[in-house]
C-alpha cells in the first residue's frame, strides 16, 4: 500500500520536481571517471554537479546565503536563463516589453538559484553520475545523468544543452525522472500571465525567493 510514484527529489533538486527510477537505468548508472574536455556539454554538467555537491556539503552551517554564494555563479554560467525565459513564456514572451523581458530573466535566474540554495541544504552521501551524452540535433546535446541517494533510490536528471554564440554549452531544460522543468514552467507561467498579468508572475517569484532567503521554506 501507500503506493505512489515520487516526483520527488527531482523536484527537490530544481526546485521543481522528483521520483524514482527503474533498476534498468540504475544498472547503467556508472559514474564517469574521465574528465570531459572544457567547453563540452559534459563539462558543463560536471561543473554543475560539482557545485551542487559543494552546496550540499556546505549544508546548514553555511546558511542560505553561503549556499547561494556557491551555486548562483555556477548556475549563471551553466544555465541559459534568457533562452529558458523565452521558451517558458512561449508566445507570451514577445508581448512583453524589453524591460519586462530583462526583469523576468533576472528574477528567473535569482529564483532558480534561491531554489537550489534553499533545497540543497544537506549532504548524506548522495552522488551524481553522467551516464551518456548524445547529440539530439545540430547544436543541441542531451546529457543523461543519475542522482543516487543514500537510500539507494536512483533519480534521473536529463539535461538539454545548446551551444551559444560564444561556443559555450548551456542548459536550457532539465527533465527529472521524466518531468520536464520547461514544460512545467510553461504551463504555469503562461497561465498566470494570461489570467493575472506580468506583475503577478514577478511578484510570485519574488515571494518564493524571499521565503527561501528567510528560511520559511527550509
Amino acid at each position: 500500500m501507500m503506493r505512489k510514484s515520487r516526483i520527488l527529489s527531482a523536484l527537490v533538486v530544481f526546485g521543481l520536481l522528483g521520483l524514482s527510477s527503474p533498476a534498468l537505468w540504475a544498472a547503467d548508472a556508472v559514474a564517469s571517471t574521465q574528465k570531459a574536455p572544457q567547453d563540452s556539454p559534459k563539462a558543463s554538467i560536471e561543473t554543475l554537479d560539482q557545485a551542487l555537491l559543494q552546496t550540499m556539503q556546505a549544508g546548514k552551517a553555511a546558511g542560505y546565503a553561503g549556499r547561494y554564494k556557491i551555486i548562483a555563479p555556477v548556475l549563471a554560467k551553466v544555465y541559459d536563463f534568457e533562452k529558458i525565459a523565452q521558451l517558458a513564456l512561449g508566445s507570451e514572451w514577445s508581448k512583453l516589453s524589453v524591460a519586462e523581458q530583462k526583469q523576468f530573466v533576472s528574477v528567473l535566474a535569482k529564483y532558480t538559484a534561491a531554489t537550489y540554495a534553499g533545497r540543497f541544504d544537506g549532504y548524506d552521501g548522495e552522488h551524481f553520475a553522467i551516464v551518456d551524452t548524445q547529440e539530439l540535433r545540430p547544436g543541441t546535446m542531451g546529457v543523461f545523468t543519475t542522482f543516487t541517494m543514500k537510500s539507494g533510490r536512483v533519480h534521473r536528471f536529463d539535461y538539454l544543452l545548446e551551444q551559444s554564440a560564444n561556443k559555450e554549452w548551456r542548459v536550457i531544460n532539465v527533465v527529472a525522472d521524466g518531468v520536464s522543468d520547461l514544460s512545467l514552467k510553461r504551463a504555469e507561467y503562461v497561465d498566470l500571465l494570461k489570467s493575472k498579468g506580468f506583475p503577478a508572475l514577478i511578484a510570485h517569484l519574488r515571494r518564493q525567493i524571499q521565503d527561501y532567503a528567510s528560511g520559511a521554506k527550509s
Binding site: K4, S5, L136, D177
Partner: protein
C-alpha cells in the same frame, strides 16, 4: 478484513501523492488537454492540500520532534519494503523481467536479512528502489490514460489507475494480517510515514505558481516516464524548442543573480 479500512488508509496516505504521481499537460504542452473533470478535480485537490497543511503537516512536525532520525528511516524502510511485491508483480506483468527479478531480490534480501525491511541491506547489493503501479502496467499494455482524476485523500490519478488501487491493497502485507488491530496500527503508521516522506514534494506543489496545474502536469509526465521504462525520449527533451522565436532580445547581463 477490512478492505474498506485498508482502502481508506491507502487513500489517506495518498494525499501526498499530490506531488508524486502524474500530471496535467498533454504531450504537446496543452494545458488541461486530458482533464475534462477539472471542475470536480480542482475542489478535491484543494481539499487534499488543506488536509495536508492542517492535519498531516502538523502530525509530521510532531513525528520529527519526538523521534530520532534512525527510527524514521527504519519506519520508512519497512513501508518501502512492504511496497515491493506490488512493484515487482507489476514489473513482471509488464514483461520487464530484469527489474522484476531485481525487485523480488530486493524484497527477499531486506525481508530476511534486513529484519523485515528495517534495514535496507539490498541497497548495498546494488538492488535500488523502484517505482511502479498497475496504471503503468495498463499503459504498457496499450490502455489509454482516460480522464485525469484527483481522488479524495489520495491525489492525482486517472481512470486507468483506478484498478491498481485494489491490486495495491491485495499485495500489501496488512491485508493478510490476522488481527484488525494490527491492520489499524499498520495503516496509522503508514499515514504518518507517508506524511513524513512526501512532505517535501507537497511543499513543492504548494510553492508552484499554479499548484493544480503543476501537480497534474508532473504526474502525467512521470507516469509516462514509467510506462516508457524509465527512459526519456528525444522528443520530450526537445519539446518546446520550436516555439515561435522571440521578437525582442534581452540583455544577457540580466542573468546575473
Amino acid at each position: 478484513m477490512s478492505l474498506g479500512r485498508a482502502a481508506l488508509a491507502l487513500g489517506f496516505a495518498g494525499i501526498l501523492c499530490l506531488s508524486g504521481c502524474a500530471t496535467v499537460q498533454g504531450p504537446n504542452g496543452q494545458i488541461g488537454s486530458n482533464d475534462p473533470l477539472e471542475p470536480i478535480n480542482k475542489p478535491i485537490f484543494n481539499a487534499n492540500l488543506w488536509l495536508f497543511r492542517n492535519v498531516l503537516g502538523p502530525i509530521n512536525t510532531g513525528y520529527v520532534a519526538v523521534t530520532p532520525k534512525f527510527f524514521r528511516t527504519s519506519v520508512s524502510n519497512v513501508f518501502a519494503n512492504a511496497d515491493m511485491p506490488y512493484v515487482f508483480v507489476n514489473d513482471f506483468l509488464q514483461g520487464r523481467v530484469q527489474p522484476g527479478m531485481s525487485g523480488l531480490s530486493r524484497f527477499l534480501v531486506n525481508t530476511i536479512f534486513g529484519l523485515g525491511g528495517i534495514f535496507d541491506v539490498a541497497n548495498k547489493l546494488d538492488l535500488p528502489k523502484q517505482s511502479n503501479n498497475f496504471g503503468v502496467t495498463l499503459g504498457v499494455w496499450g490502455v489509454p490514460q482516460g480522464p485525469y482524476l484527483v481522488l479524495p485523500f489520495y491525489g492525482p490519478s486517472s481512470l486507468r489507475n483506478l484498478p491498481g488501487l485494489a491490486l495495491a491493497i491485495y499485495t500489501a502485507p496488512p491485508y493478510y494480517f490476522p488481527s484488525s488491530n494490527a491492520q489499524w496500527a499498520w495503516s496509522g503508521m503508514g499515514i504518518i510515514n507517508t506524511g513524513h516522506v512526501d512532505a517535501p514534494q507537497v511543499r513543492m506543489v504548494e510553492d508552484a505558481v499554479n499548484p493544480y496545474v503543476f501537480a497534474r502536469n508532473a504526474w502525467e509526465q512521470h507516469e509516462q516516464f514509467l510506462i516508457d521504462g524509465g527512459k526519456v525520449n528525444k522528443s520530450q527533451l526537445l519539446e518546446g524548442l520550436d516555439l515561435p522565436p522571440a521578437t525582442a532580445a534581452t540583455d544577457s547581463a540580466a542573468t546575473t543573480p
